[in-house]
Every structure is written in C-alpha cells, then in structure tokens.
C-alpha cells in the first residue's frame, strides 16, 4: 500500500510539465512563420548557368630594393571588372558540356585606357564529359585537374605551372579558383570506397616565355600544353584514413606522389602530401627555361652556382587543421621544396652585386619562374591560416594567412574581411604585406603592401 502511494506520487511528479519548457518556447517569436513550403521541382535542367560580376580595385606601395627589379615594375594601381561565367549543358543524360570563362576589363597604371591589354579573357575550362557506364567517365578538352589536400602548397598538383590568372587575393585557396585548365583526355572509374583515373595531356605548342604583362584574349595553350604529360591516380579509403597515390609522367620530370588525410578527434584533421622524383634544382630549371624560351641569352650562366645534374628531390606539405569552438579554423603546414633555394643559395641571391643589370635580370627571373610554377622559391617555409566564417557578426567572414620563410623569417601576410551585403552582393577588403629585412626573401620584393577592394554581384 505504501509502495503504491509512493509510486503514484512519483508518477504524478514526472507528469508535471517541466518548468523550463515554457521558457524555451518563449524564445520562439510568436509570429514566426512556418518554414517556406518548397514546391516539388525537377532539377534535371539541361542547361545550368552560373555567373557573377566582380570589380576589384588594387592599390599598392613599392619600395627600393637591393637587387634592381627589371621592368615592368609591379603596378601601383589596377582596377579589374570581370564577368565570370560557368555554363553546363547536358544534351543527353550521359553527356555534359562545360564552359568556364572569365572576361576582364582592366585599367592599370602605365596602361592606355583602350589598348590590346584592356580586354582580357581567361578560358579556364572547355570540355565534354561522357559517362558510358555508371560511374565511369571519359573527359576531353581543357580541364582544371587539381590535386592535393594541403592549402598552402600542393606537391601533387602536377598541372599547376603557368596556370595562374589575375586574382583579388593572394590566398592559395583563392588562387586555384581561377586558374587555367590543361587540354587533356581523362578517364575515371569510381567504385565503393575508391577510384582510379588516368589522363594524358599532349604537347600542343613549344614552351613560351613567361609574361608578366596582361595577355589579351590569348587562351594560353602554349603555357598549359608545352609538354607531353600523363598522370595516373588511385584513391582509397581505409577506415578513417583517406589516401591517394599518384604517378606523374613527363620527360625528365616524372614523379610519384602520395597524400593522406585522417581526423584526430573531433576538431583536428591531419594531412600530408608528398611528391618525389628526379629533377633539376629550381635555379637550373629556371635558367634552362629562360634560355629555351629566349628570355635569357642562350649562353647565360646561372647567377648562383647550382647543380645542373638531375637528382631526387622531395616536395612535402604536412600539417593539420584545428577548429576551436565551432567558430575558428586554424591551419598550420610545413612545406619542404628540396629543389628550391637553400639558405646558402639565398645568401648568394641577396648578396649579389646590384650594379650588373644582366645578373639582376637572372636573379629575378628565377623568382618569377618559381612564382609562375606556383612553387616556393626557397626550401622550407611555414604556412599559417585562420578562418572565421562568422566573425563578430553573422555576415562578416574574416580570414588571414601567412607564409613564413624558414631561411630568414620574412613573411607574406594577408588579411581579408568579406561582408555579405545580401544574398547577391558581397564586399571584401584584403590587405597584404611582404615583411622582412631588405635582404630577406619577402622583404626583398618591391611591392611592400597592397590593398584590394572587391565588390561581387552574384546572379
């Protein structure tokens, strides 16, 4: 009897509405409308168009440098107005045609308002994709085949050289958004837990000189298809580990590559990306390329003594991301580029005589070549990045990164604030600086600081 009464009391207690319940409900606005009813629609549209307009104005400040920079100097002012478009057309279910392009109007210091360089076009991709069997694909045309999982440097991204186009940011993750594809034939098969792909990119033109000036409407196939190249890749997942193995084939520059990612707990992703193969060092490659394309005299000696024989070089990016309080994500990476300038090479670069123009041209050509190849100039660096998608207020995104040279501690640092004015409009401001002593890797660069104001209208 007593037990029954106790039971009844307990049941009665648990049946009382929790007092906090009404508090929770009070936080829902009384007039909150029911979520939008989404009409049933078919998204099998045959044609899909994505376009946006962008205006990016750049102001920069230069400084005197120890090693004279050959003309043309980096600009102090540029305004670029762009129409960015991606069109996908699926005439039949198994076939898709893709065209990705950016058209620019450029006003720039020392550039006539109307000239051949005012209008510029970047044909990023133009290819057809065919799926003859389920999850088996054949692609042909100009394709942006990007590889790698690291953020600051991708040793396995073998098709990156020469693909860079004008950007409103120096952030490596932004740079890869607008790069040129390579003409290739690619096949890929995807199955449960893995995939395999192979591609062949033919040589269509002889190597061409690196051009720092604007290039009009030249599709630049001579940059992206100046050698016969091939790539085979296999991807697999084993438990929480995701891995890729790559074999890259190019005359005198073949490499093997490997990358792996794995979560460590709830907030860390660890990753490593490596490529290795027999190749010339950066200095020898750069001077050789300059001679081959007529930029440097055929008998130009390397400005810094270097080993011209090919040897095994390792490229490595290893690091991780760490997200704190679901608000900020930090990335830290160590980059090794064994073919890059050693500490001794760098001391010779920065200590070279400044009164010999031909020598200065060659010294800067090496760095320009490294930049064109999208590879570090020196052997070791750190890369740090921080990103906060909702910084202080919901619509403000802040991110920043820094490359730190381990040769001399100099840095390239950029901070970007993006504000989403509406669903269609985004405004952004980036400030970047090359910081370090005048003889350091970054401090020796003539452009000391730059700011970019960007306004984007999405359609």
């Amino acid at each position: 009897m007593r037990a029954a009464i106790v039971c009844a009391f307990l049941m009665a207690r648990t049946a009382i509405a929790a007092p906090e319940d009404s508090d929770d409900l009070d936080r829902i606005p009384r007039d909150l409308p029911h979520a939008q009813t989404i009409p049933t629609t078919s998204r099998q549209d045959r044609v899909h168009l994505k376009i946006y307009f962008e205006n990016a104005a750049t102001l920069a400040a230069r400084r005197d440098v120890d090693i004279p920079f050959p003309p043309p100097l980096p600009y102090d002012f540029q305004n670029r107005t762009s129409l960015d478009s991606v069109i996908e057309w699926r005439p039949v279910r198994q076939v898709k045609l893709v065209l990705s392009d950016r058209a620019d109007l450029v006003e720039q210091e020392s550039l006539a308002l109307m000239s051949k360089q005012t209008v510029r076009n970047e044909l990023r991709e133009a290819y057809v994709s065919w799926e003859p069997f389920a999850r088996t694909y054949v692609d042909a045309g100009r394709i942006n085949a990007r590889e790698g999982t690291a953020l600051g440097f991708n040793p396995t991204d073998f098709f990156r050289p020469g693909t860079l186009v004008g950007q409103a940011s120096l952030d490596p993750s932004v740079l890869s958004r607008n790069r040129l594809g390579t003409v290739m034939l690619r096949a890929q098969a995807i199955w449960d837990g893995g995939s395999v792909s192979a591609l062949y990119a033919p040589r269509l033109f002889a190597p061409s000189a690196i051009k720092s000036a604007l290039l009009g409407i030249d599709p630049r196939f001579a940059v992206t298809n100046a050698a016969d190249r091939g790539l085979a890749k296999i991807t697999w997942n084993l438990g929480d580990t995701s891995a890729e193995a790559l074999l890259y084939l190019e005359t005198h520059r073949s490499k093997v590559g490997f990358d792996v990612t794995r979560p460590v707990g709830q907030s860390v992703i660890a990753y490593a990306e490596w490529a290795g193969g027999y190749d010339e060092a950066l200095i020898a490659r750069a001077i050789g390329y300059g001679r081959e394309t007529g930029t440097l005299p055929r008998d130009a000696p390397p400005p810094i003594p270097t080993q011209t024989a090919r040897s095994f070089h390792n490229d490595l990016a290893v690091g991780g991301s760490w997200t704190i309080a679901a608000a900020v994500t930090f990335n830290l990476e160590y980059h090794l580029h064994q073919g890059g300038l050693s500490r001794n090479d760098w001391e010779r670069w920065s200590g070279a005589r400044r009164d010999i123009p031909a020598l200065a041209n060659e010294l800067w050509y090496i760095r320009g070549y490294a930049s064109d190849q999208l590879e570090p100039a020196t052997r070791q660096q750190l890369f740090l990045r921080a990103a906060a998608p909702k910084a202080f207020v919901d619509r403000l995104e802040l991110d920043g990164f820094s490359f730190v040279s381990l040769a001399d501690g100099s840095t390239l640092t950029q901070i970007t604030a993006s504000y989403y004015l509406s669903d269609a409009w985004t405004a952004a401001f980036s400030a970047s600086a090359n910081l370090g002593s005048s003889r350091s890797e970054r401090g020796s660069f003539p452009q000391v600081i730059s700011g970019i104001v960007q306004l984007v209208r999405y359609q």
Binding site: M1, A18, I38, I190
Partner: protein, 260 residues
C-alpha cells in the same frame, strides 16, 4: 468497513498506478530507435531544406540545401550529401557527411578539403542534417520519466523524457535530451549540449505531414542557446525516394555529383 474502504482505495490506487507500471515503458534505447524511424524514411531519399535565420524575430539570411541521404547498414547512421542551392554565392558547393569522413568541395577551385566534426558546425549547413540523424547508434539513452510538455505549437503532449550520452566517437554532441511523444514516437524537442555541458541549441519539431510512407516533421525550429537572439527554421520538402549508390559517398565522387 474502514479496512474494506482502505483496501478498496488501495486497490483503486493500485490499479491507477499499476496500469503504467504493469505496462512498462519500452526500453529507452528502443524509444530512441523508434523515434529515429518516425522522423526519417529508412529508404534512401532526397529532400530540399530551407534554413532561415531569424534575429530578433526578423528573417535575415537563408540557405537552401539539397540533401541526399542513405542509411549505412553497418552503423545505422545516415550518410548525407549536401549541396548548396542558394544563396548564389554558395551555389554548387558540396559537403559529404559520412561519419568521420567529411569533405567540403568547392567547384570553383576544384578543391576538396577534409573537415572535422567541429569545422562542420562552423557553417550554416551545420543545421542541415538535424533531421537526417539517427541517434540510437551513437548515443546511450536513459529514460528520465514521462512528462507533459508543450510542442512548438504550444499544444500539450505526453512525452518520454530521455537523456542521451554520446557512446561513440562519431557522436556530434556530448549529450542530448529529447522528448518523444508517447503514443506516436514523434520527436517533439531535443536539447543539444557541448562537451563542457553548455546548452548549445534546442530543436522543436513541427508541421508533421505524410512523407515517404510515414508522418514526419517537415519543419524544425532551432533555438540558439548561445546567441539568445537567433532562431533558425529548417523547412523540409521536395521529398523523393532515390537510389543512391554507396560509391557516391566519397571525396572523388563529389565533382561528379548531379542534383537529380
């Protein structure tokens, strides 16, 4: 007589109390499993979610996501492929959510970035899979009791109150509290807690409708417990059963994924 009355009253009390005692509530884990099944179709399906943030009661940002979901037969957990359909600046971006295998793909840069469980929560899509999550596998449930609570429409409901503790490393939250309607196994409300014990958000499920063979919530109201001014509604619609091959749930398929 007094003794008879006492015995009679005792019998009445015993009957009143014994009904629920004799008809024992299901095991807590079974309730959670049943609620999972009531909330989501068990066959592979796709749906469109529209998330709207309300700040001080006024609509601010919205995101539309296409979600393709399939249960992993081994873990009984949903695997999701999430595509941004709007706003235009994010259109085409993809997120693969498959236990600890989470990848973000940006078609503009052709870049796949592996993301952690914490990083997944930094974007607005963190609320996108609130509906397509099976709690029974990743949490150990304990029945707190039976309560009468008000649902999102302020209607009183008899509900089981359950306390869920993370049981696997894949659990997104350290602890949950959820209320499941006794007669229908419909989820009414869930509270999400961080590792520190801090309450992060409260989800109310409403607008139940016939969806793919069951009566399921088509709207979730998520109250941000950290930012007291923020409420997010997640409207679900455009449901379709869809064959989704297992091969789709990997990094290399993301560039090939079409919204069908």
């Amino acid at each position: 007589m007094p003794s008879a009355m006492s015995r009679g009253l005792g019998l009445v009390l015993l009957v009143l109390v014994s009904v629920p005692v004799l008809a024992d509530p299901p095991e807590a884990q079974a309730i959670v499993d049943a609620a999972d099944r009531a909330r989501n179709p068990q066959k592979p399906f796709r749906q469109t979610l529209t998330l709207v943030d309300y700040v001080h009661g006024k609509a601010q940002d919205s995101v539309t996501l296409g979600v393709q979901a399939k249960i992993d037969p081994q873990t009984r957990q949903f695997r999701n492929l999430v595509r941004y359909l709007a706003p235009p600046r994010d259109e085409g971006k993809l997120v693969l959510l498959d236990a600890s295998k989470m990848w973000f793909y940006d078609p503009a840069s052709k870049t796949s970035i592996r993301i952690s469980a914490q990083q997944r929560l930094t974007g607005q899509a963190s609320n996108g899979d609130v509906l397509t999550v099976n709690l029974a596998h990743d949490y150990t449930a304990k029945l707190v009791g039976e309560e009468t609570i008000k649902d999102a429409d302020r209607q009183e409901r008899r509900a089981w109150h359950l306390d869920l503790a993370a049981a696997t490393g894949d659990a997104m939250y350290n602890r949950l509290e959820c209320w499941v309607e006794r007669d229908t196994y419909r989820a009414i409300k869930t509270k999400f807690y961080a590792d520190s014990g801090r309450l992060l958000k409260i989800a109310y499920y409403r607008a139940f409708a016939a969806v793919l063979g069951g009566t399921r919530p088509t709207e979730t109201v998520i109250i941000d417990a950290v930012d007291s001014n923020l409420v997010t509604t997640v409207g679900a619609g455009d449901f379709h059963e869809q064959e989704i091959p297992d091969a789709w749930f990997q990094r290399d398929y993301l560039p090939r994924l079409e919204q069908k």
